[in-house]
Symmetry: C2
Subunit: 234 residues, 2 copies
DNA sequence: ACAAAAGTGTTAGATCTACACCCATGT
DNA sequence: ACATGGGTGTAGATCTAACACTTTTGT
């Protein structure tokens, strides 16, 4: 192996393709979901997979991920973070392909259904994920683990909710991320003490007769908090 | 852009090289250090850089990283973790190269000095890092951030120390990772309460006349703890 | 004898956890 | 009127953070 700081010119005879795959999490006010796509071509036609593409020569990897997300869901400017790169030699049965994997969080109500048709997309419960092609199953479990970790230190949960949401909804979301029940009083106390929610005087009555007040996430206040060095934790 | 689940064959006309770069952290019982290499060839000859290489067609990315580490330091089986993949179009001035970056933690006393000669390697204090080529500076600051985060939840600090170390040494290490002073009594109390250190009856007198007892990290006990679901935190 | 680092406990304050009842409203 | 989920307070336990003196030993 020639280490780069000693290599004269970039003469590597590589024959490796670079792909990007996106893990798309959603939340429908009851359960955490994963958006999967049915593969329409060989190899592994008919199996479920993440959505992905090969990046173009003149496109950054980040931009590639954004574009995949946009083309498959119609959404732009959404939470999107690089997870990990998968590079085993035989991970793709059709050739040497490495995959840079991103994960994104969207609120299911924002999702445009056209993609369902075009790409054979389907939301799956996290505890009901079908067999996936290649190493996509591993990617998904890594992403879930990462989601749980990140949820403790960043307000990523808010990306999975619509602009206005109730505290019980938020609690259910965190319960499905952490997979354990939370105490309603303690949860409410803690989340409100962070002072990053703005209460509206509207109620959502879809969940109960009494109705629950709708809140909005206050990003300015949140950014202040972070700038002051506080670390968010539920 | 053709999404993969819709693409017949892998006909992407890519012209992208895949490199691996390694960030090597070390600790010399006083300060946290970074191992950098002087670039011996154009472009950017003479500037400092991380050590890296292009991966081979028949080599996984993980194995590529291990090999780079072995060739540049002589060390095997050391802590090595993938950090992130950098994929901006113009990040390397000599062509389209994406870089999968790993970081590793070694104890400086294990490092074989032959590499210093062969590759023009040098240890730098973290607060005295020189200008680096391309986006390597960004990589390093991302890695430092990641190191700080991981140090809170994994016992990675122990990889930076020799097999036997004193509690004051461990404290200095954590202080240099977190960049703040820790209370000696509280630190000792907490670290001992985890019950993952094995005390020896030997003393290291290099740091003081009285001498400090040497301890070893007990990986079995640590793994038990993790298995029980406890999460390590300093 | 003294300088220099190692080692040791306690206490006040903050945070976390567990827990039970009333409220508002659609049916 | 009643069933359903929304909303509220407290007390005990646990954890965190601040703080000062004694011990050991090479010089």
């Amino acid at each position: 192996m020639k280490l780069i700081n000693n290599t004269n010119i970039y003469t590597a005879q590589q024959n490796i393709l670079v792909a990007v795959d996106c893990i798309i999490f959603g939340f429908d006010s009851k359960k955490l979901k994963l958006l999967l796509f049915k593969r329409k071509v060989e190899p592994s036609k008919g199996l479920w997979s993440l959505i992905g593409a090969f990046i173009k020569n003149d496109q950054s990897i980040d931009d590639g991920a954004k574009q995949i997300l946009f083309e498959s869901t119609g959404l732009q400017d959404i939470y999107l973070e690089q997870l990990k790169t998968y590079g085993d030699v035989y991970r793709d049965i059709a050739g040497r392909v490495i995959s840079v994997v991103y994960y994104s969080l969207i609120s299911v109500d924002k999702f445009e259904l056209e993609s369902v048709e075009k790409y054979d997309a389907h939301w799956f419960d996290l505890d009901d994920v079908p067999e996936l092609i290649f190493d996509h199953g591993q990617m998904v479990s890594d992403a879930i683990k990462q989601l749980r970790t990140n949820a403790k230190h960043q307000p990523i949960g808010f990306n999975l909710l619509p602009a206005y949401f109730t505290i019980p909804e938020l609690q259910i979301l965190y319960e499905s991320i952490y997979q354990r029940e939370l105490d309603a009083r303690n949860f409410r106390k803690k989340i409100l003490s962070l002072d990053i929610l703005t209460k509206t005087n509207k109620k959502d009555k879809s969940g109960s007769k009494k109705g629950a007040f709708l809140y909005a996430f206050n990003k300015e206040k949140f950014d202040e908090l972070i700038a002051e060095g506080l670390n968010f934790e539920i």
